[in-house]
């Protein structure tokens, strides 16, 4: 049950694109057609499935303070966490290369549809972001980390397919010239992000009073992104401000 919750949360509530803006570059560049969007999205899910658990193991047994204790008591004080970035990105780059070669060898059809996107993925922030958030969330076991990785990948897939479909349709609409292309895509993504915010109440039942709901939503994300928490707490301040104001009136 908790795994299911984590899965749904990483797809909808902590959506890579709409909540944390990760992988925006390829999201914007490759979303002109649904078919290419599906290809890249599938490749991202696949690479997330491989790299997140792998980086979880790296983090558990090499990087975190005291992780080297399996080598012997002398290594208990070693803290290699400053190497996180370089090791994670190296894992991702090699895995992407490896996945590309394996897929080319054993599934040429899949390679033909995914092939060109695989190198792009090495520099897709969603992948590195997934691993870094995984490290920050401090999962208990590798299953949780894997579920989180796949969930985030699926969330990214949904986002890019949705915007791809909208961009295919919007070609027939009369968009003001200055917003054509990039500008409109940003505004659309913003509107979609507002839509996705409504998933925030999904795991809490959503029938609390609005103010309580905000509080409920902060709790699960608190260890996740410090950045977002700051945002939420300021938003909360404004809510409290307006409340005190109405009381005074």
């Amino acid at each position: 049950m908790e795994l299911l919750q984590l899965f749904l949360k990483s797809i909808f509530i902590d959506n890579m694109v709409f909540a944390t803006f990760l992988g925006m570059c390829s999201y914007l560049a490759v979303s002109k057609k649904v078919s290419t969007a599906v290809g890249l999205g599938a490749a991202v899910i696949f690479v997330m499935l491989v790299t997140v658990p792998l980086n979880y193991l790296l983090d558990q047994y090499i990087l975190r303070p005291g992780a080297l204790v399996w080598l012997g008591e002398d290594y208990a004080d070693v803290d290699l966490s400053f190497l996180t970035f370089i090791l994670f990105i190296a894992t991702i780059a090699t895995m992407v290369q490896l996945v590309e070669m394996i897929v080319e060898k054993f599934a040429p059809a899949l390679y033909n549809s995914l092939g060109i996107f695989l190198p792009l993925i090495a520099v897709n922030c969603a992948i590195l972001g997934g691993s870094l958030f995984m490290q920050q969330k401090e999962f208990n076991n590798i299953t949780e980390a894997t579920v989180y990785g796949v969930g985030s990948g699926i969330g990214w897939f949904l986002a890019i397919v949705a915007i791809g479909a909208i961009r295919e349709k919007i070609r027939y609409s009369n968009v003001p010239p200055v917003f054509r292309g990039l500008g409109m895509t940003f505004i659309l993504t913003g509107l979609m992000a507002i839509g996705f915010m409504s998933f925030g109440g999904m795991l809490t039942g959503g029938d609390e009073a609005p103010k309580k709901e905000v509080v409920e939503n902060i709790a699960p994300t608190e260890p996740v992104e410090v950045n977002e928490v700051v945002i939420d707490s300021t938003a909360l301040e404004t809510v409290t401000d307006s409340l005190t104001q109405t009381v005074q009136e």
Partner: protein, 223 residues
């Protein structure tokens, strides 16, 4: 930012100046080349975070471009992506440790987004497109110019989001005290807390792009 361009050194030929100036306006990495959007949006709820992020990227891209440019004849092209990633990752670790040492609060706020400078497409894009084919000095100017163009957008977005969202700039109240109802708040003005949430970052950037295109018609896309 324009002041640095006016130094009268022979090193700053007109062409070299263009390397710094173009990315600030007509060839802006964020609004025209569509690179490096991820971090441009995530950390702009506060102006201070935007400024720190912009400076970090100026450092990483400036130094990284020089390094890659110096190494450009030594890197076999088949493994260049990994070499470039290692160069960026090393520089980002320097930035990360520096931030953690001197501004720990802010480093916490930026959280994983400092690490994500590594996958900032502007950096890989400039390495691939410029540093691999040009000398160190030109690459340095190009790197600084592009990073400054990125930082400019970051600061504009951060300015509007913090001003309209929490009524502050750099953490100092601008419009008065919202609780005590002084200053502008006495007239019934309210902070728009929505500006601080994720979606408004996207919409703000969309509007900035629209504004830039209305000033420069050449940038308008057909679709």
């Amino acid at each position: 930012m324009a002041n640095t361009n006016q130094e009268k050194e022979p090193l700053f030929s007109k062409k070299n100046l263009g390397l710094v100036k173009d990315p600030l306006t007509d060839n802006n990495p964020v609004t025209v080349q569509v690179l490096g959007i991820c971090s441009a949006l995530a950390i702009t709820a506060e102006l201070k975070a935007s400024v720190i992020m912009a400076l970090s990227v100026v450092f990483v891209l400036g130094a990284g471009n020089v390094l890659v440019s110096l190494l450009r004849n030594a890197i076999p092209s088949s493994i260049r992506i990994i070499v470039q990633l290692v160069v960026v990752a090393a520089l980002v670790i320097i930035v990360d440790l520096t931030l953690k040492a001197y501004v720990p609060d802010l480093a916490k706020k930026l959280s994983v987004f400092v690490g994500l400078i590594i996958t900032n497409c502007i950096i890989m894009g400039r390495f691939e497109a410029f540093a691999l084919g040009n000398g160190p000095w030109k690459s340095f100017l190009d790197g600084v110019g592009n990073a400054a163009g990125y930082g400019l957008i970051l600061i504009i977005v951060g300015f509007f989001r913090e001003l309209l969202g929490s009524g502050k700039l750099f953490g100092f109240p601008v419009f008065g005290d919202p609780v005590a109802k002084t200053g502008l708040y006495a007239t019934g003005y309210e902070n728009n807390g929505f500006m601080l949430l994720a979606p408004m970052a996207l919409i703000t950037l969309g509007l900035i792009i629209g504004f830039q295109r209305s000033r420069n018609k050449n940038l308008i896309e057909t679709h």
